[in-house]
């Protein structure tokens, strides 16, 4: 969930080069605050000022781990919240709107509080609440399904799951025996996913979800998507 400095030049105080990113932070399995950028894990720099909480989005200065290059350290510059958006000028808002409609629509919508843009015409975008994620036409492609700020998976009661986390391709679906845990991971022998909709034969008899239910999901480094009850 990132935007490059090129997209947001002028919005962040130090966005002069490509080492600035907007990140949404969460916690890993060990409880550490983290995010992902350019395919690598990001941890807050140890000497940064301010406190980053899970679920928050920050404009950060990125630095590759000088020891092994295996991860990035993020020095937070500014928290992306409602006050940040309220302070933006007209030109900056235009820049954001342009960015939304081109490269990073779903990601930025996550960061600004869980809204869905459903637009047939890319010039006129209407922000709508996510109260009815089923309301969009599947033919329009996968909507940005978010709930309380977290991306997730939507079950409509049929043999299909929908999520913005799905890419076109094939996925295997794994359950725990008690059906409380679900993992969906890329697998060429799995079920086909097109346009954010994964159709899984027989899943309606396996899932203990109620039709219309949305559950938060977490995507791990290997691309697998985990949903826990």
């Amino acid at each position: 969930m990132t935007m490059t400095a090129g997209d947001l030049t002028g919005l962040c105080p130090s966005s002069q080069d490509d080492d600035v990113a907007m990140l949404s932070f969460t916690t890993d399995s060990h409880g550490n605050i983290c995010s992902n950028w350019r395919g690598k894990r990001v941890y807050p720099a140890w000497d940064h000022e301010g406190v980053i909480s899970p679920g928050e989005s920050w404009c950060c200065m990125m630095e590759l781990n000088p020891k092994n290059g295996g991860n990035y350290f993020a020095t937070p510059i500014r928290k992306i919240d409602s006050s940040f958006l309220a302070d933006l000028g007209g030109e900056q808002l235009e820049r954001i709107a342009e960015c939304l409609l081109t490269n990073h629509r779903d990601e930025v919508l996550d960061a600004i509080g869980g809204r869905v843009i459903r637009d047939a015409d890319p010039v006129v975008a209407v922000a709508q609440p996510v109260s009815d994620p089923h309301g969009s036409d599947p033919a329009e492609g996968a909507p940005a399904i978010v709930h309380d700020g977290c991306p997730g998976i939507y079950y409509d009661g049929s043999d299909s799951l929908r999520s913005q986390l799905f890419d076109d391709g094939y996925y295997a679906v794994l359950f725990s025996k008690d059906r409380r845990n679900l993992v969906i991971r890329p697998d060429r022998r799995g079920y086909a996913c097109v346009g954010g909709t994964l159709t899984v034969h027989g899943i309606s008899g396996m899932l203990r979800w109620t039709p219309g239910e949305h559950r938060c999901a977490h995507i791990s480094e290997d691309g697998s998507i985990a949903v826990a009850e």
Partner: protein, 169 residues
């Protein structure tokens, strides 16, 4: 090092085995939990029908996936019950511990017959973790092991894709 008693966990999978199969690669990866996997053994009996081993293809696939497949060929005629498999697994676990080839044994079975083997391995200073479905996990094995991991809570059951031929069937 991982030791899988295939028959035991397959039976523990429950009534949904028509639709689900255990993803052994994924399960092994989860059980290693980031630790370096030395080797993963799968122990099973050969299923002989009219003198032909019908389970050979499935075992070959598991071997190609990287597992060390140990298929014992002794089955009681007319009875779907395998022999030698448990002892083979127990011996392998103890012998590898004697050779100091691992630090932690992950035993995927709930069979109480493995209790003596587990105790011998622990006597050699090794840890033994047991993973099993709750329904097939004996109390004795759970008590003696260093760590028990319930497969009931682990997403290891893969929904079969009817569009693909399931060799394991």
């Amino acid at each position: 090092m991982v030791f899988i008693d295939l028959r035991n966990i397959t039976e523990g999978c429950g009534p949904d085995s028509d639709y689900l199969r255990i993803d052994l690669e994924w399960m092994t990866d989860r059980l290693c939990d980031g630790r370096r996997l030395m080797r993963a053994f799968i122990f099973d009996g050969k299923h002989i029908v009219n003198g032909v081993d019908v389970s050979k293809t499935f075992h070959d696939i598991l071997a190609r996936c990287g597992f060390t497949m140990v298929a014992r060929d002794c089955c009681t005629l007319g009875v779907d019950r395998q022999k030698e498999v448990d002892v083979a697994l127990g011996c392998e676990m103890v012998v590898r511990a004697c050779r100091d080839q691992y630090d932690v044994a992950v035993l995927v079975s709930g069979d109480r017959d493995f209790v003596p083997a587990v105790e011998h391995v622990q006597d050699m200073g090794k840890r033994v973790e047991v993973a099993s479905f709750d329904s097939s996990a004996s109390i004795g094995l759970r008590r003696v092991c260093d760590r028990f991991r319930s497969l009931d809570e682990m997403p290891v059951l893969m929904l079969k894709n009817p569009c693909l031929t399931e060799v394991s069937e």
